[in-house]
Symmetry: C2
Subunit: 672 residues, 2 copies
């Protein structure tokens, strides 16, 4: 469905009072100020505004009108839509509030119904409007943006408005501004898809607080990042309290971490603060894309250079020492007291020409540069700015300038801006920008294959005991050890012999969750006498606990204990999680998660993000584990919630892993 | 020694050329502009500047002059000092560069010698000068600061200059500005002590890149923070490469971490960026001190409120949910759709009066508040500003305002400023400010007892083998198990019987460092036959390895493995370190460190900072260890480098700890 009526209307109706100080008049001023011409007013009095003609009904307007912008009181919105619908209007911006956000769900349902009847697509209600600078269209009460290539899509009108003000202050040009308020028709999915396909949008800033359909969002987001960068600000953990969960997995994966994982899986760049978002916008708007992660710092003051280098390191950029050849080359034109490593400290005596030459020379080896300079109030900063501009032109590589103090700072900064050199007041922020730009390049360079969920296989019974759970894992090709479910003592001898001594015996009872704590597990049983004695003890001990029998397993070599699980996230559905079991997950919260299903490659990438990953690869004499086998297990396991949609949560805890392979030693499957 | 001649000179000589554009003339303009009167010029031509008289020698000046500010070329500085010294000048600000920083060590030695001869105290050379706004004295080429209560002490002139510019932009008033350049006479120790005792200085910003005498610095710093807050920016890890170390301890404690530990031990507030420093300055300059860590967020936009709450949580502030009583009270005047938890979201409809009342009501339960507001470009923000100002006056508690977007933003911000309300453009930064202010209060509330180092006990032999090391630990009251050093097979029977079976045998040889790897350790020897067999095997195996005998120990119950160590930091001397052994320290780098010696209380506090601390207190069925015993061990051990100053590094690795106590199982002592 085309949104042309919204973004490029042939005519606009403003619905609402245009008396002095009323929103209608403010809005028309905005529209006129933006250069839009074909404006009409509709209100009960048919009152116009200046040269803009007023009508009591949109039907009276003879010119074509595609869009209505509504600022009239909430109780009038449905009838305005009805009137405009009859007149052929196909799009609406409903700025008016007073609907679902204050409990008026009926009112909101009514406007949805009317809009549907007439095929009207709308943003709002309770939104801050929209702007399309490429069409001189400013249907918003927020600050008029500068034209440019960044589009802003905001779930919060207030935050969107703040972004408009700040982007103007920083000279960031905007293509589209979209605030969708309650989002009862158009919301993030369709609007993001529109921006994805919009040729005038080069990068997108997305502010979200929550998402209705996480999977559909991921699909649109992924197709968007394939074409242009998407910077996401997602406000943090919900204050609505923690979900009650029964499994480890559930309690270990906060909803905010799931958002982070989902955004990363789609190649979106999550930033933490609005300031970081503005900085990064500016980076994408102004800088050439860094072709790698190697950054060099050219400074005239040692300490701040090192501070920037530290930040670069924290952000995962490569702050490599200058090569001997580079040092030698730098030595030919820098002071003997200059620092020639990285940072390159050209000292307080450094000239603009030295900045230029140091940057040009170093950027032969590096992918991006910070040019940091602190001057004095009685000397000009302009020569430095000129050196930086020359270097940027000569190299075609991204340089961020951090210039401070000078008799001509305003002039020097204006010169940088005129020459498309990004300026930031501190080096740390520059490093964050480079790091995110590199992250985007890295994402694009990877294959990022998503695997499709498998088809539904079966419905599951009400309570899944260990024998059924192990059967299910086995059927799905997961590495379980041999096992036998024993319901009568007489089966023990043959079963234990088949499995091979020594064996492990575990009680099976719907009433016993923590088997070890309940003394429902016997390890290392050496012969039939021990096995039968164990069985007798359990049968007696659990006689009043709905004793269903026992599971027999071989003793599996212990290896490393891994925990793998999944749970259903309310927004994103199945989420898979992995970590080293025990204290690593419990105390150190060292877990990796991803929206399921995942490929074995993604599972490997997840494991690599663990702080304790070195333990899996063999350090200090410890043995490496079968990473490929574990990754395959995680990938296969991540399909289970799709094969068995009744499953709410599952833990494999522990999985034993050593150099020879992986084996699932305990399992819990929990139905919805 | 008084520094009155420097800070409150009766007259000032400017030494250098005053031709147009020369630094002498710039400097005199600064001095005059600041309101200082008694200025004289000395240069070879005796050239004056405007109304300021010129002389060829300071001896010709009849009025009293206490201070010379030198901007003449480096080769003239010694003779200027000589001339001024003869004329009774007692202080100098040597802005001129070209000394040790460019290899001219002789030149620097010469000026030190001349100054000493005449009792002249000086800052510089190669510095950015100083200012004392309380005396209208601006002997600096940097931006003239506003008067106020913050003093700035900077090792880097450039950074100091940048701080001057930024503080002026933010309206932060300065009492003293001090840049000491090469610091060849006055440097951080004496200048910090001066600011400590300066009644006009309420808070100090200190920028350091390195410190010569860490212990002396700590003493001054600690005495300063007892009187006023000290905000420290320390540029990060040195680029001069890692020190080569022989012990675990050395490799685990980077020099930057030692700085962090030392600063925290002295109650200084380390911040990461200049921006954080300015924010915190403003906090100390403007805000009442928070009396606790409970922060409330009042917002009209949900998402940014939650983002600020997340930051508060990360910073260690308590973002407690509103009490039922508070919620009820809020319900009497806020919209039914307002969020009444924490953040308190008064929604877009929120009025200035609602801000006031929500803040006043909530601040009965909380210690500090963020008032966050995003308006619209066509509505005034002033009513909100008025509500916030009223609430701050009514409660006397710290409130930071984050106001964005409004038709009258400039006016609203000016009103906040005029009423001493701190403004920051985002909520995250506000939380950093509150957190550091609380950190300072917490430090002051603690006793922070420092323990004196013990007296030197002895010199140590060249190589310390395990028997000697264990003897030394035992002598110093550290918990070592029983042990016997056996040099002949015949001693085994009696010794093993005394110790009690089963026993452990370890080889003693200066050539064998990694005893386990070399098969030089036998555990769990049950009887004399096993003991003698083990001895024979070792004696044979290590015959060509300078075999000195074996150590016998009892089998110590394993418990948790703790690692405790110390090493000599180049700046701070002995630094003690503790962590759980093995992968916790090796892979997860989970270690706590402090400048030694430490009290048992400090050792306990160190252990609490470990991420794996819960493992020591008993979680998930694991047993707690004897924390008090371990803390005592760390405290006693931290005195060893003082008792035996020959020691360069030491590891106790592992210490076995369980609920019954602690025991040192292996030790390495390394001499300087």
């Amino acid at each position: 469905m085309s949104l042309k009526a919204l973004f490029e209307p042939r005519g606009i109706v403003v619905a609402g009072s245009v008396s002095p100080g009323k929103l209608g008049s403010v809005l028309i001023d905005r529209l006129l100020d933006g250069g839009y011409q074909n404006i009409f007013v509709v209100n009960p009095k048919g009152q116009g505004y200046g040269d803009i003609p007023g009508f009591v009904s949109a039907g009276q307007i003879s010119a074509p009108v595609d869009l209505v912008v509504i600022v009239s009181p909430s109780f009038t919105v449905a009838s305005v839509l009805e009137d405009c619908g009859k007149a052929g209007v196909k799009a609406a911006v409903i700025i008016t509030s007073g609907f679902a956000e204050v409990g008026n769900k009926d009112g909101e349902a009514e406007i949805i119904a009317v809009a549907k009847k007439y095929g009207i697509r709308f943003i709002g209600p309770n939104c801050a409007g929209m702007a399309n600078t490429d069409f001189n269209l400013y249907a918003t009460l927020e600050e008029k943006p500068l034209p440019g290539g960044i589009s802003v899509l905001s779930q919060s009108g207030a935050v969107g408005g703040a972004v408009m003000v700040a982007s103007k202050e920083r000279g960031i040009g905007i293509s589209k501004f979209l605030s969708f308020g309650n989002g009862s028709d158009l919301e993030v999915l369709e609007l993001l898809a529109y921006l994805r396909d919009d040729a005038d949008t080069n990068a997108i800033v997305l502010y979200i607080e929550n998402i209705k359909d996480g999977r559909a969002f991921m699909d649109v987001l992924k197709s968007t990042t394939a074409k242009k960068p998407v910077i996401v600000i997602k406000s943090g953990r919900t204050s609505s309290g923690q979900r009650a969960t029964l499994s480890h997995t559930g309690s270990l994966s906060g909803s905010d971490q799931v958002y982070s994982a989902a955004l990363a899986q789609c190649g979106a760049l999550r930033v933490r603060t609005l300031e970081d978002a503005y900085d990064l916008c500016q980076g994408f708007a102004v800088l050439p894309q860094p072709q790698g992660d190697k950054v060099v710092i050219v400074t005239n003051s040692g300490g701040p250079g090192v501070m920037a280098a530290d930040q670069a390191d924290d952000e995962g950029l490569a702050v490599l020492e200058a090569s001997p050849a580079l040092k030698e080359e730098l030595g030919t034109f820098l002071s003997p007291y200059a620092g020639k490593g990285n940072p390159i400290d050209i000292t307080v005596e450094g000239t603009g020409e030295q900045y230029r030459r140091a940057l040009v020379t170093a950027l032969a080896d590096y992918d991006s540069a910070l040019a940091f300079y602190i001057g004095t109030p009685y000397l000009k900063a302009m020569p430095i700015a000129e050196g930086i501009v020359s270097a940027a032109k000569e190299t075609g590589k991204p340089i961020i300038a951090s210039l401070m103090v000078g008799s001509d700072m305003a002039e020097a900064l204006a010169y940088l801006k005129a020459n498309n050199i990004m300026y930031l007041p501190d080096g740390e922020r520059a490093m964050k920008v480079f790091a995110k730009m590199v992250q985007y390049q890295t994402y694009l360079a990877d294959k990022n294959e998503m695997v499709a969920p498998v088809a539904v296989k079966a419905n599951l019974p009400g309570m899944i005991l260990e024998p059924d759970a192990m059967d299910l894992l086995k059927e799905n090709g997961l590495p379980v050890p041999a096992f036998r479910f024993i319901t009568e003592k007489g089966q023990l001898q043959a079963a234990a012999a088949e499995i091979g001594y020594p064996v492990v015996m575990k009680v099976v009872s719907p009433q016993i969750i923590h088997k070890s704590d309940a003394k429902g597990v016997y390890l290392n049983l050496q012969n039939i006498a021990e096995v039968e004695a164990a069985y007798d003890t359990m049968a007696a001990a659990f006689a009043d606990k709905d004793f269903r029998g026992v599971m027999l397993y071989p003793m599996v070599p212990a290896g490393k204990e891994i925990m793998v699980g999944f749970h259903q996230d309310p927004q994103f559905g199945p989420v898979v999680l992995a970590g080293l079991g025990g204290i690593y997950t419990e105390i150190l919260k060292d877990v990796a998660l991803a929206v399921a299903p995942v490929t074995p490659e993604k599972a490997k990438a997840m494991l690599k993000t663990l702080k304790c990953y070195p333990l899996l690869t063999g350090v200090r004499g410890e043995r490496a584990i079968d990473i490929a086998g574990l990754a395959q297990l995680i990938a296969d396991f991540s399909q289970l919630p799709f094969a068995y949609p009744d499953l709410q949560e599952a833990d494999l805890n522990p999985v034993f892993a050593d150099e020879n392979g992986v084996a699932i030693v305990d399992v819990r499957l929990i139905r919805k």
